[in-house]
């Protein structure tokens, strides 16, 4: 296998972008990722994006994203209707072929344009479930209840929210941040029992991009590349009543395959507060691991980019030298149906 590293990361997000369309949001983010990578735009060997047309409500909406990358002369390009983390997986696989040495991965979306929780109901079984229009918050609440019934506590959910908001104060890109007290949060009203509004992710518009480089190129352009040591993704049955919602078997399997061990930082894509302990336990992370120093998806959740952002946040800490080995996790589908786990290590780390 070829060694592939993340060599740069850029992001932008806001609760609602009032003026720019997706292309106008993407241009500075892609531009920054390319500039920070040290690799020329026309030198990039492969370009792949992750987005979802259902956010804008227009078929082939993703194609406009190409205006931001400069696809002339024609480029090697691909797209997934998934979070950018899966686009990065494709880029990693593509780099294994050996004929190109770098890849640009970008993801974007404006969740503010539609009624996102209701849009997401249409991801469910089209015969048995979608016609009832169960929104994504309601479905997540079903999982939260199952997790609580398995012997867990609402106090732990509130603690995840409070810790995430406090951590986000150090993140200029976070939308929700500040001092938060778990006890006070527990006193709020439920929106869909057992979830409060604060247990749910904020609607967010934005974009994220990373650049991957292989072998010697990574070493040439980046003083401390964030090497991808393992990456895997697994999916569970789509039927909610077929799965054990209180655990994440797919995360566990992906983590075992990716080789999660000895990490000091974990960026976990848990848009709902109860999902963080589920993912953390599935990965077998001990108490010493710094979980979501960025604040995580509870503080900014650009749908289709939040998973790639976890990878970027983890990688940036390795590039900066503030961490040695990290795990980044991304999820897709209701109730953690599909999960990707990526283990990264900084250059020179033991």
């Amino acid at each position: 296998m070829r060694d592939v590293a993340v060599v740069s990361f850029a992001q932008w997000s806001a609760a609602e972008e009032p003026a720019r369309n997706e292309v106008e949001i993407l241009i500075p983010v892609v531009g920054e990722a390319i500039e920070r990578s040290g690799i020329g735009r026309k030198e990039i060997g492969f370009t792949v994006s992750g987005s979802c047309d259902y956010l804008a409500g227009a078929p082939f909406a993703f194609v406009m994203g190409l205006d931001a990358v400069g696809a002339w002369p024609p480029i090697r390009e691909s797209h997934v209707e998934m979070d950018g983390a899966w686009a990065m997986y494709e880029a990693w696989v593509r780099l294994q072929h050996g004929d190109v040495d770098s890849a640009l991965v970008y993801s974007f979306g404006k969740s503010s344009l539609g009624d996102l929780p209701i849009v997401m109901s249409q991801q469910l079984d089209p015969y048995y479930v979608a016609p009832l229009w169960p929104d994504s918050v309601s479905v997540a609440a079903l999982q939260a209840r199952a997790w609580l019934d398995a012997g867990n506590d609402e106090a732990e959910m509130a603690e995840v929210v409070a810790r995430s908001r406090r951590a986000a104060t150090a993140n200029p890109h976070a939308i929700v941040k500040g001092d938060a007290d778990a006890g006070a949060l527990l006193g709020e009203q439920y929106t869909v029992t057992p979830l409060h509004a604060h247990d749910c992710p904020p609607i967010s518009d934005g974009a994220t991009a990373v650049v991957l480089a292989a072998g010697d190129l990574a070493r040439d352009v980046c003083g401390r590349p964030a090497w991808i040591r393992g990456i895997d993704h697994r999916i569970e049955a789509h039927g909610l009543g077929v799965r054990d919602l209180a655990t994440s078997v797919s995360t566990r399997l992906a983590g075992e395959s990716a080789g999660v061990n000895g990490v000091d930082v974990a960026e976990l894509h848990a848009p709902f507060s109860h999902q963080e302990p589920i993912v953390r336990d599935a990965l077998g992370l001990g108490d010493g691991v710094d979980v979501n120093p960025s604040g995580g998806a509870l503080t900014t959740n650009v749908v289709m980019a939040a998973g790639l952002t976890r990878i970027g946040e983890a990688a940036q800490r390795l590039i900066d030298g503030t961490a040695g080995r990290a795990v980044a996790h991304a999820t897709s589908g209701h109730c953690l149906q599909q999960n990707l786990v990526c283990v990264l290590e900084g250059e020179g780390a033991a």
Binding site: A19, R20, N21, E22, V23, E24, I27, P28, V30, G31, R41, Y54, A56, G57, A58, M64, L66, D67, A68, V69, G70, A71, W72, K110, L113, G114, D115, I118, V119, Q122, P126, Y127, A130, P131
Partner: protein
């Protein structure tokens, strides 16, 4: 509707959907659409390759950089390609046959799609010089309907060299 006979098995279900979104035109397209309402065609020039995009999208698709410089282009141009529509369809506003064309406006580097009227369909051809027929100022909306259609100017055909890169 599913089967009406109680004895026949169900083979189909109705699953109507309705999803409500907002569409925002973005900065560049909003500028263009407001300009068209004022009777102006406003493109944007790429700072790297110098090409002028109409209608602009805020980005040069070839270079991947933002296009900030606004350039007003003419409302006269050259037909680079066209088609004659003979097929009736739901909500059709035009009498068939009618001509839809790509018009390279003078000053622009990318064609704009619009209707050709005041010409027989069989007379429309590549290289034909056309000009916009605008809706009256009070009736213009911020959309390409601010131009009712393009009609032949009567000028001699444009030289192929002036539009060969755009076919």
């Amino acid at each position: 509707m599913s089967d009406t006979s109680a004895a026949d098995p169900v083979t189909k279900i109705d699953t109507p959907i309705e999803l409500r979104y907002r569409f925002t035109a973005g900065r560049a397209q909003s500028r263009f659409l407001r300009g068209v309402q004022q009777g102006k065609l406003l493109g944007q020039r790429c700072p790297q390759c110098g090409k002028v995009y109409v209608s602009p999208r805020g980005a040069c698709a070839a270079c991947g950089v933002a296009t900030d410089e606004e350039v007003e282009v003419s409302d006269k141009g050259t037909v680079t390609t066209f088609c004659v529509v003979n097929v009736p369809f739901y909500d059709q506003k035009m009498e068939i046959p009618y001509v839809s064309a790509t018009i390279l406006l003078d000053g622009a580097d990318i064609g704009l799609m619009h209707l050709i009227q005041e010409a027989k369909a069989e007379d429309v051809h590549m290289g034909m010089r056309v000009e916009a027929v605008w809706a009256p100022p009070g009736e213009r909306t911020p959309s390409l309907e601010a131009i009712k259609y393009f009609r032949p100017t009567g000028e001699p055909d444009a030289d192929y060299e002036t539009y060969r890169e755009h076919v």
